[in-house]
């Protein structure tokens, strides 16, 4: 993998920014931007409803994108790929469609993004409870599994510190317990190979904009047999075969979950993004990120004023270096980096307030890497952090 060559596809990188906020959103290559423009320039019409040539072209392109994504995740059927707006929408879809009953339990970890916490909190009013196990702790996870646990909904790779859970093992345990598993793949899908069949995961939600796709695009994978049984979440146009004044007949998945006119340009751009990532190779991407993360960790990891979240081992943290500087507000550090050397990092609780509250932390500074980051990027980052360390 050649990061220097990849960089050339990202116009904004030539403008001098050191972009280390990839866990929030990645940048987009020209290929994706061109694809979006192609839709708007050449066939900017609705798909699915009309019979003219332009509309057929849209249908083809959407199906093509779905195929690319199916292959990327090694899903059995193309119909198992549902387009959403983001990870959050995918999780909400499952939360609302799964017909959970009073007394049912949803098991989540203690390191979930708000998007995989609040949908379950909301269900509490219907008598559906959510219970918490310690992220990555198999024993704790096992001990929480019981016959009431109908769903395990948990994050594969944490956006907070980049660490991952042994999800394959957890899925096996959950299935043995008779529970379904929904994985929040927002931070795993963009960075490493995900094989949904091999994982045997039931549902998998991720965001296009975190994997070089257009903003506001997402993917929900679900096993076809399960999707068939789910009731739709958002309903309306494009979800039904036909209607009378009293009733309707829903289309099979994925259409029954894709209500209303879709974000065609986004979907096509997302297809192109996934194609782009496939070409680079997900194994290469994670290896590259770990390489760079090791470089940062070697230089900053042992500094007395730096507290890394997620441990010293860069391999466990993938592409994320999340840390605090003693006696400094994380926002302060982020704003200083931005102003001193145009380095973009994220600071705060990264939508995992619950975890930070539990650990009595205000938040952290998070540098998150991607395939286009280089050794120069991380060296500059380290250099600036070293200067910040002298401030207090």
């Amino acid at each position: 993998m050649n990061a220097e060559k990849i960089r050339k596809d990202f116009p904004i990188l030539s403008k001098g920014v050191i972009y280390l906020d990839n866990a929030c959103q990645t940048l987009r290559p020209v290929q994706v931007i061109d694809k979006i423009n192609e839709y708007y320039n050449d066939y900017p019409v609705c798909g699915g409803r009309s019979y003219h040539k332009l509309s057929k072209r849209v249908d083809e392109e959407v199906t093509n994108a779905r195929r690319i994504i199916q292959k990327f995740f090694n899903a059995k059927k193309v119909q198992e790929i549902i387009f959403t707006r983001n990870t959050t929408e995918g999780i909400n879809l499952i939360a609302n469609s799964l017909s959970l009953q009073e007394g049912d339990i949803v098991l989540i970890s203690d390191k979930e993004h708000n998007s995989n916490l609040i949908p379950w909190q909301i269900l509490n009013s219907k008598g559906i409870k959510h219970e918490i196990f310690e992220f990555g702790n198999i024993e704790d996870f096992k001990s929480k599994l019981n016959s009431s646990v109908k769903l395990v909904s948990t994050v594969q790779t944490s956006n907070l510190d980049g660490t991952s859970q042994p999800v394959e093992e957890m899925i096996k345990l959950a299935h043995a317990n008779g529970s379904l598993v929904l994985l929040d793949g927002a931070q795993s899908a963009p960075h490493k190979p995900v094989d949904v069949q091999k994982l045997d995961v039931d549902f998998f939600s991720c965001s296009g904009h975190k994997m070089t796709g257009p903003s506001g695009t997402g993917i929900l994978y679900g096993k076809y047999s399960l999707l068939e049984k789910l009731k739709p979440f958002l309903v309306g146009g494009d979800t039904v075969e036909e209607t009378t004044y009293e009733k309707c007949k829903f289309l099979p998945p994925p259409e029954k979950f894709e209500a209303g006119l879709q974000n065609y340009a986004g979907i096509m751009g997302l297809g192109e993004a996934v194609k782009y990532l496939s070409k680079i190779g997900m194994k290469n991407i994670i290896a590259h990120e770990i390489e760079l993360n090791k470089r940062i960790t070697e230089k900053l990891g042992n500094h007395e004023k730096i507290e890394i979240i997620g441990g010293l081992n860069a391999e466990e943290r993938g592409g994320i270096f999340s840390f605090n500087i003693k006696n400094m507000d994380p926002h302060e550090v982020a704003i200083i980096l931005d102003n001193s050397a145009n380095i973009a990092v994220r600071s705060g609780a990264h939508c995992c307030h619950s975890w930070f509250n539990k650990h009595n932390l205000k938040g952290s500074v998070r540098a998150s890497l991607y395939c286009y980051n280089t050794e120069e990027d991380v060296d500059k980052f380290v250099e600036e952090i070293e200067k910040v360390l002298l401030l207090c």
């Binding site: 926002h331 550090v333 704003i335 200083i336 401030l391 207090c392």
Partner: protein, 310 residues
């Protein structure tokens, strides 16, 4: 503290630019919270501080460290300076409306920004006076009013300088108002370096004095518009025309002018002015107290009345 500064800075910017309004609003909220002894929730203080430190760090890590460490102190100092300068401006504005200068009655002539606002200033000459300043005297120069009046006003003026000309209406009002209570002496201070014919005008006025028509001619010189605007070669023409209008004996006047009879006299005036510290026109000495530039009549009245009541 920094929130207050931010509020003021962005508050002013917000008047002109919509994009600064949200920040001004944020600063206002922040100040409000701080005033009510709560923590600034918006994190504006952190934002401002870190942006500044970040920018400095790009240039000098050491300066950044100092700024980071003593930021609260710096912002306090800046706020105090700001409040002080604000108070000072208000005080200056008050003085200006009263005395025509920023600093109160004692320092009528110090430079004041408000003068510039009103377009008031004086024609300045760069001079260096060595040794002690000498108090100017009336010498043998022409005067209006009473010779032994209690208040003596000595004006150093220049016929061709716009500020001297501008001051004349005020001088006329003063002469009318105070009559024989004052003695108004006019002495020449021609600034030839700026107005090339200044000395010529002064000498011409002295030629009129010789024929006892100084004040009539003086008035014409000050009010004749063309004196300042006409071309060099037409200059003499105007001076002569004004002399004719004044009813001077033209033969005597012409030879007086030609001979430059009063060249030395004018020079003496000028040198006396320099010795007295005059560095621009018009400069007035009212019983030794100076007013520089065409100040509003209030400023003159204040001093004259004080001197009269002594």
């Amino acid at each position: 503290m920094i929130c207050i500064l931010t509020l003021v800075v962005f508050g002013v910017l917000a008047i002109f630019s919509a994009s600064h309004r949200p920040l001004a609003k944020e600063a206002f909220e922040c100040v409000f919270l701080r005033l009510t002894l709560r923590k600034c929730r918006t994190g504006l203080d952190t934002k401002v501080k870190s942006s500044i430190v970040g920018r400095i760090m790009g240039k000098s890590p050491f300066a950044a460290k100092i700024t980071y460490k003593y930021f609260e102190v710096f912002s306090w100092v800046l706020v105090i300076l700001m409040v002080a300068s604000l108070a000072y401006s208000v005080y200056g504005g008050y003085n200006y409306s009263l005395y025509g200068n920023c600093y109160g009655p004692e320092e009528i002539n110090a430079f004041c920004i408000y003068n510039a606002l009103e377009g008031e200033t004086f024609t300045e000459l760069q001079t260096k006076v060595s040794g002690e300043l000498e108090k100017p005297t009336a010498d043998d120069d022409p005067y209006l009013g009473k010779d032994d009046a209690k208040v003596e006003i000595i004006e150093f003026g220049c016929y061709s300088c716009p500020y001297s000309r501008q001051a004349q209406s005020t001088v006329n009002e003063i002469v009318q108002k105070y009559g024989n209570q004052i003695k108004l002496v006019f002495r020449d201070f021609p600034i030839d370096t700026i107005h090339s014919r200044a000395s010529l005008h002064a000498e011409a006025a002295n030629c009129a004095l010789e024929q006892d028509k100084f004040w009539e001619y003086h008035k014409k010189l000050f009010t004749e518009h063309e004196l300042c605007t006409s071309a060099e070669e037409n200059h003499l023409e105007h001076i002569v025309r004004l002399a004719q209008e004044t009813g001077l004996n033209m033969k005597q006047f012409s030879s007086c002018l030609k001979e430059r009879k009063y060249k030395e006299e004018v020079k003496t005036d000028f040198n006396d002015g320099i010795k007295a510290g005059v560095h621009g026109t018009p400069t007035f000495f009212i019983n030794g107290r100076t007013i520089i530039g065409p100040k509003p009549i209030r400023a003159f009245e204040k001093i004259i009345d004080e001197e009269l009541s002594k």
